[in-house]
């Protein structure tokens, strides 16, 4: 097939409006930050570079390789984009890719695009770059290994948050959708990891200057490490919790007023869900969005107060 969609693109109608709006708020804040940051770092070249790179990611998503029994592994690209271009540029590039996928190919809805960008573009870049940045001083093999793990985790995180949004919208049951999404994407994530590592390895060999000390890739602040690790930890700890003990997560969500507390006790697949619209107060939703933004903002600020990597001075012979 000329264009094959990923199972993470949420179409219109599957997310509740409030969830959609909260995701848009987070996405808009992060994109605005990305716009102003890339302005300063890439300067004049940013437009042609990011433009062509966006086309690259889109095209690279078509490179596949057969895994087993008709399935194939292929690339989402968030971690790769962030590692190669720097975190903020990576986010803008992925935003453009997801926007075109939604607009032109209806892969992903228009109203829910904020959520899709958040899951597939922003979170993947944060984890991909954050974890890679943490080993910037290490030797090549180690860096590549971490990049692979980062790529895999980025896909898992995207899947996790997608599942979370579907649950919060009353579209899916928590204990079904989280394991299902994670399971499917664990395999896809392997493909992501392998292609990301192989591509990075190729570039490190052919043009090491692009990923070296003076590159965009190395100049991101250390706050990304905090962001990347934090999101990874959330995913790693909450996923099994959500799958096996949905009661716990449900209780937390109920206490926070996200979900109504009507329960039915008709067996393992009994649902705890009431359509989201009916029971939540708008103020709690806004509070939640502000809270998340504040946490992310603090993470980035924390990175700026930490020592930034200073560029190596070139000495003329």
């Amino acid at each position: 097939m000329l264009y094959s969609p990923e199972p993470m693109h949420i179409p219109d109608g599957f997310l509740n409006l409030y969830v959609s709006i909260v995701c848009w708020i987070i996405t808009t804040i992060l994109i605005s930050m990305a716009v102003s940051r890339t302005n300063k770092s890439l300067g004049e070249k940013q437009v042609p570079l990011m433009g062509v790179m966006a086309a690259f990611i889109f095209a690279a998503q078509m490179i596949n390789f057969p895994v087993a029994g008709g399935t194939s592994g292929h690339l989402l690209g968030g971690a790769l984009a962030a590692i190669m271009l720097g975190p903020w540029a990576g986010m803008l590039v992925m935003t453009a890719v997801i926007a075109v996928q939604g607009l032109l190919f209806q892969d992903g809805g228009l109203l829910v695009m904020g959520a899709n960008i958040l899951n597939m573009g922003l979170i993947t870049c944060a984890i991909g770059y954050g974890l890679y940045r943490s080993v910037s001083g290490a030797n090549r093999i180690f860096k590549l290994g971490v990049a692979g793990i980062a790529a895999w985790l980025s896909v898992m995180a995207g899947a996790f948050f997608t599942a979370l949004q579907l649950w919060l919208s009353g579209t899916s049951q928590l204990q079904i959708v989280i394991p299902a999404m994670l399971f499917v994407h664990a395999l896809i994530g392997l493909g992501e990891a392998v292609i990301t590592v192989a591509a990075l390895s190729f570039v490190l060999q052919a043009r090491p200057d692009l990923l070296g000390e003076n590159s965009e890739s190395a100049k991101g602040s250390k706050g990304w490490i905090i962001a990347g690790v934090a999101i990874s930890l959330i995913v790693v700890f909450l996923s099994p919790l959500a799958s096996t003990d949905p009661d716990g997560l449900n209780r937390v969500a109920t206490d926070l007023g996200f979900i109504g507390s009507a329960r039915s006790s008709a067996g393992p697949l009994a649902g705890y869900m009431i359509p989201f619209l009916a029971n939540v107060s708008l103020s709690k939703v806004i509070a939640g969005a502000i809270g998340i933004s504040v946490v992310l903002g603090l993470a980035v600020l924390a990175g700026r107060t930490l020592q930034k990597k200073t560029p190596v001075q070139n000495r003329k012979p």
Binding site: A55, L104, S172, V194, I195, L269
Partner: protein
């Protein structure tokens, strides 16, 4: 691969085609928003929304069934919502056994499930309509008018421009791989998964470098024509009276849908 493999625009003369792209984008978003706001089970409103959709199809001279034929794109995703059939409390409609569980479909569950599907089905059709009646560069212009940051719209414009070029390169790389994927008589071909993955990764890396170098050349071409860091764009669209009238009419109809849906 033909150069319009990625085009979704159908070049026909019609009232809708002639409308300003901003109107088309705004009405599309309003329609999708309206679907999201309609409550579960608002079947009359959903039905009228579908009529609205058919009207747009007809006015665009693309045939009444144009979007219908393409509307099942998002169907596989419906699987995600299937648990809703069993998990919402209500009157049981039917019961059956799946592996070791006893599943009961409730009427509220069915209502919710069908509502999700109908909303999605209606919305995706309007999105299909949008790119069929507005050229993609014009949609980008509309986004710029609607205050999307210009760096983002420019990246999207570049993406669109170079998409075909780069995908063509991917296909050439894939064909080269094909041509070299022979099997010696009597032995199994294909290599290990790890090897295949490495080849794929090398292709990605190769494509990355080519793209990076191309972006350098594009940058030089931009410099040669006076680019000095601040990109200027020209959006050759003027809103006519008919655009305003159509927009107001469409939005009013959509608001009417909202009222009907809550009666």
């Amino acid at each position: 691969m033909h150069s319009d493999a990625f085009d979704r625009y159908h070049d026909t003369e019609s009232f809708i085609h002639r409308l300003d792209p901003r109107v088309k984008v705004v009405v599309t978003i309003a329609f999708i928003l309206s679907n999201a706001l309609l409550p579960d089970g608002a079947w009359l409103a959903f039905g009228l929304a579908w009529l609205f959709l058919l009207l747009v199809n007809a006015l665009s001279n693309l045939g009444l069934g144009f979007t219908f034929k393409r509307s099942f794109v998002a169907l596989p995703f419906a699987l995600v919502a299937i648990t809703v059939l069993f998990s919402i409390p209500g009157k049981p409609v039917s019961t059956f056994h799946f592996l070791m569980w006893k599943l009961t479909v409730t009427d509220m569950g069915l209502l919710r499930f069908m509502s999700i599907l109908v909303r999605s089905w209606l919305s995706v059709q309007m999105a299909i309509m949008l790119v069929a009646v507005a050229r993609f560069p014009d949609i980008v212009h509309a986004l710029e008018h609607l205050r999307v940051p210009s760096i983002l719209t420019t990246i999207i414009a570049f993406l669109y421009r170079y998409l075909f070029v780069l995908v063509d390169e991917v296909f050439r790389l894939l064909r080269a791989r094909e041509s070299r994927s022979a099997a010696a008589a009597g032995s199994r071909s294909g290599g290990s998964v790890a090897w295949r993955a490495r080849v794929a990764g090398n292709m990605a890396g190769q494509l990355f470098l080519r793209s990076y170098e191309r972006s350098d050349r594009v940058y030089n071409a931009m410099l040669a024509r006076g680019y000095a860091g601040h990109l200027m764009t020209i959006n050759p669209h003027e809103l006519r009276n008919i655009d305003y009238v159509t927009a107001v009419l469409a939005i009013s109809l959509i608001l009417l849908l909202q009222v009907i849906g809550r009666l």
